[in-house]
């Protein structure tokens, strides 16, 4: 195959997988079909299913599969896809990085659309540098940590990173900008603008959400993403070269690959174009040894060489392959860091001693210790949650649980007949549950309590039954009793006051969400009583 064709094949493949990634990202939402055949359903317990396998990229990501395996001893669904990618790497090197990885594609685009470095500068930037060992440090940190039961790989895994950034920052940020633009247009007094505003809003709503979405630390997730994109100005594909643990893992597996770069030293005129266009800083220039583990299989060097001094060939060359340049210090440092972090992360006491009231995990979440062995912090459950309740944590789960999911009832609530989060979780950190199981067992995510001082009827200020009327369980967990209160003027006033029956409460949080006392509602849900934890059990 000619070099030009290979490069175009790569571009087509990159575009295809990037678009597929974005498509699955958008499809990670409540099904848009609103015409269920209600006559077939009498219980309201039909299960929600998504039309597309939105977790596909996570299944294909061997780091997700491997870390879940060694950390939680679980074979995740679709792990064979990940195994397939490893096999592909064994045969052909890091073609995943060059042809498939959507995060890599984004960096590739950011670095090559308008490169900041010119000619010789770029050539210098693409020479090998010791910084590439950082990614092996990261990989060994994550894997060692996983072995000890703290799976942090999602923080640095490229698929999780990209999904989280897009779902929790870029998409809602763009959506908020569009909503405010269309709102301004709808409010204007120019008719054609009104019309455009309403029409445009209707068009973008299914993609960006019907209401503006909000995520705790979303600004930071977005800023980090933009910063990583910016780094491409210093070194093309900075992330892939220096930071990506998945790239490091695939680099290890590329040791035995059949893909060879044949260099004809006698033809080389030393023009340096190969290095200037090399995406992985893999030393393509003849006369020096090719860094197989760094090569992203972009085939740029092959294409740009004016003397045909470079050629990719397939051939068995076991024994002659050079191992990755990991650096002993990076590996040992990584192992040391991986040994330390799980225990440093426990010093806050969140895992063993205290329970954070705000750590309300999605329905079906595993018990906390187990949960942290598999949760990728990818944000898929947060993206799919129809009420925007599921958010990334900051400190609620301790430092080792940073960016894992929790429900914030001020932003949303757990819809009684929805089980989407568990149905999409790529690693099973949130179990797949049926609506029947959720309602009948029931699966409790917390329990509600009334703050009488702030409650309108309890404080004698006004009648209000909002929490009770929203309570979805049957019989209702929130019930009303008449109370005779004395007004300031000394008159008798009969009000209905709410109580919570903990035996019935599932912690869905719609009461907290709808309570008219905003900011610090008079009825709140805390994690105590959640059914996934024995430690947090409330009633005998």
């Amino acid at each position: 195959m000619k070099a030009r064709h290979l490069v175009w094949l790569r571009r087509i493949s990159q575009s295809f997988f990037l678009l597929l990634f974005l498509f699955l990202l958008v499809e990670s939402r409540l099904p848009q079909e609103i015409s269920l055949k209600y006559s077939l359903v009498t219980s309201g317990q039909q299960n929600l299913t998504l039309d597309y396998p939105v977790g596909f990229f996570f299944h294909m990501d061997p780091l997700v599969g491997l870390s879940s395996l060694i950390s939680g001893h679980r074979f995740i669904n679709g792990i064979l896809w990940g195994a397939g990618v490893l096999l592909l790497t064994l045969l052909l090197g890091r073609v995943f990085c060059g042809f498939i990885c959507p995060f890599g594609t984004i960096h590739h685009l950011a670095g090559s659309l308008k490169p900041s470095l010119k000619g010789p500068e770029m050539r210098k930037a693409n020479e090998k540098s010791p910084g590439r060992r950082i990614k092996y440090f990261v990989l060994f940190t994550l894997l060692t940590g996983s072995l000890l039961g703290l799976n942090l790989s999602g923080l640095m895994d490229p698929i999780s990173f990209f999904f989280r950034s897009m779902a929790l920052a870029i998409l809602p940020g763009t959506g908020a900008a569009m909503h405010s633009l269309f709102q301004t247009m709808a409010d204007s007094h120019i008719r054609s603008l009104n019309l455009l505003g309403y029409g445009a809003e209707a068009l973008v709503s299914p993609v960006f959400g019907y209401e503006p979405q909000a995520y705790q630390t979303g600004w930071f997730i977005g800023a980090l993403f933009l910063f990583l994109l910016f780094l491409n100005r210093i070194r093309p594909r900075f992330w892939c070269r220096f930071l990506c643990p998945l790239g490091a893992l695939l680099g290890l597996f590329s040791r035995f690959s059949l893909l060879r770069l044949d260099k004809a030293e006698e033809k080389c005129t030393g023009c340096g174009r190969c290095t200037r266009h090399c995406q992985g800083a893999a030393t393509p220039v003849p006369g020096q040894e090719w860094d197989r583990a760094e090569c992203l299989a972009c085939f740029n060097c092959f294409q740009v060489c004016p003397e045909n001094a470079l050629a990719f060939r397939l051939g068995w060359s076991f024994g002659r392959n050079r191992g990755p340049d990991m650096g002993r210090r990076a590996v040992l440092g990584g192992i040391f860091a991986g040994l330390s972090i799980p225990f440093l992360g426990r010093l806050g006491g969140e895992r063993d001693k205290v329970s954070n009231a705000g750590l309300i995990r999605p329905p079906g979440a595993l018990e906390e210790k187990e949960f942290l062995t598999v949760c990728q912090r990818c944000g898929l459950c947060m993206k799919v949650c129809p009420t925007n309740a599921i958010n990334p944590t900051v400190g609620e789960a301790g430092v080792s649980g940073f960016w894992t999911p929790r429900l914030i009832m001020g932003l949303g609530y757990c819809e009684y007949t929805c089980t989407l989060c568990g149905s999409v979780c790529p690693t099973g950190a949130i179990r797949k549950i049926s609506v029947k199981e959720k309602i009948e067992r029931p699966i409790r995510i917390g329990s509600a309590y009334v703050e009488r001082g702030r409650c309108l009827p309890w404080s004698g200020n006004a009648p209000c039954i909002v929490c009770e009327e929203h309570c979805p369980t049957s019989p209702k967990a929130i019930y009303l009793r008449k109370a005779d209160l004395e007004t300031r003027e000394g008159k008798k006033r009969e009000l209905q006051v709410p109580f919570v029956d903990l035996k019935r409460c599932v912690g869905c949080g719609i009461c907290e969400n709808k309570c008219p006392v905003k900011g610090r509602p008079a009825i709140c849900v805390i994690a105590a009583g959640e059914s996934r934890s024995l430690k947090n059990r409330l009633l005998l």
Partner: protein
């Protein structure tokens, strides 16, 4: 920004709905058949109340709706050719129809088809749901009805809630779900059920689902709020769905144990009388309901529904 003079926007929205069907979910029904206008249309009419009852099992809800409307003079009495009709069901909760927390989709469908047959240019299902709209549309059956009839199902997006002057006793300026005020005709189709604060939720209370904003605070003076909103919206006609009624643990219920089959429909152009009649189904006197008493006092209608042009039909 001028929120308090809705005139410009009112016209603008009218235009938008006329042209851009994409604002709403659902498709556009094309080519309704004309319905000859009955002779009495256009005449000054006295207020009426029609009760329809399905006497035996297996009666057709659709037929009952048609007969009830026919007894009141036919749908052509209320709907003129080319009208934009907004229908306000109660689909606030993501509950299946048998739980009687929401308007029966069969009733909803029958009314939409009557409007279309009477020549309505466009029929819209408009409700500001309490739970997630997409879940409510799907589970209550409203989504399927919209798909089958071609009626528009309006998504209660925040840009469609505009501050308007309610000019009530209790409510002054409040955000209103615009498609309700932009329609030529407004049909209220509540479900009859228990409510833990206002005792029952019938036709008049259904208007709380027609506004946006911090509507939970309306509960602090529920009866005044209900009457203010009824006075503001002025429905063309109210059809109370009492095919199934929820007798306790309302308004959201959640068990069929709370549901009683009454197989009854109540149609009236007097919102107070319709609610007064429906109260009897629950074994309550009209005077027990604060909003009925208050509505009568404010002159919105009469609780003495016997004094109206009263008709009964049964199947």
């Amino acid at each position: 920004m001028c929120f308090h003079d809705p005139i410009d926007r009112r016209e603008a929205v009218k235009k938008i709905f006329g042209l851009a069907g994409s604002v709403v979910l659902g498709t556009v029904f094309a080519g309704p058949l004309g319905f000859p206008k009955p002779a009495m249309a256009g005449l000054k009419r006295s207020r009426f109340l029609v009760e329809g009852t399905g006497m035996h099992d297996g009666y057709s809800v659709k037929k009952l709706v048609e007969q009830v409307f026919d007894a009141a003079g036919g749908p052509g009495r209320f709907i003129s050719k080319g009208d934009v009709v907004a229908i306000k069901p109660n689909i606030s909760w993501a509950r299946v129809p048998v739980l009687a927390a929401t308007t029966n989709p069969e009733v909803l469908k029958a009314v939409i088809e009557l409007c279309q047959a009477a020549g309505a240019k466009r029929v819209r299902i408009v409700d500001h749901t309490i739970q997630d709209p997409r879940r409510c549309f799907a589970i209550t059956g409203a989504g399927l009805v919209a798909k089958q009839t071609g009626a528009d199902l309006v998504y209660p997006r925040s840009s469609l809630m505009k501050d308007m002057k309610i000019r009530g006793n209790r409510l002054d300026v409040w955000p209103v779900f615009i498609p309700l005020v932009e329609a030529d005709k407004l049909i209220n189709i509540p479900v009859a059920k228990h409510h833990s604060l206002s005792m029952l939720t019938l036709g008049m209370k259904n208007w709380i689902g027609g506004v946006g904003g911090g509507r939970w605070s309306l509960h602090q003076d529920i009866n005044e709020s209900i009457v203010d909103l009824t006075q503001f919206f002025k429905p063309t006609v109210t059809l109370i769905d009492a095919v199934r009624i929820m007798t306790r643990n309302g308004p959201s219920g959640g068990s069929e144990a709370y549901v009683v089959k009454k197989n009854t429909l109540i149609l009236s152009d007097d919102p107070v009388a319709a609610d007064a009649r429906a109260a009897l189904l629950f074994g309550k006197r009209p005077g027990d309901l604060g909003f009925v008493r208050l509505g009568e006092k404010r002159g919105l209608g009469t609780s003495d529904f016997q004094s109206l042009d009263l008709k009964r039909v049964s199947l």
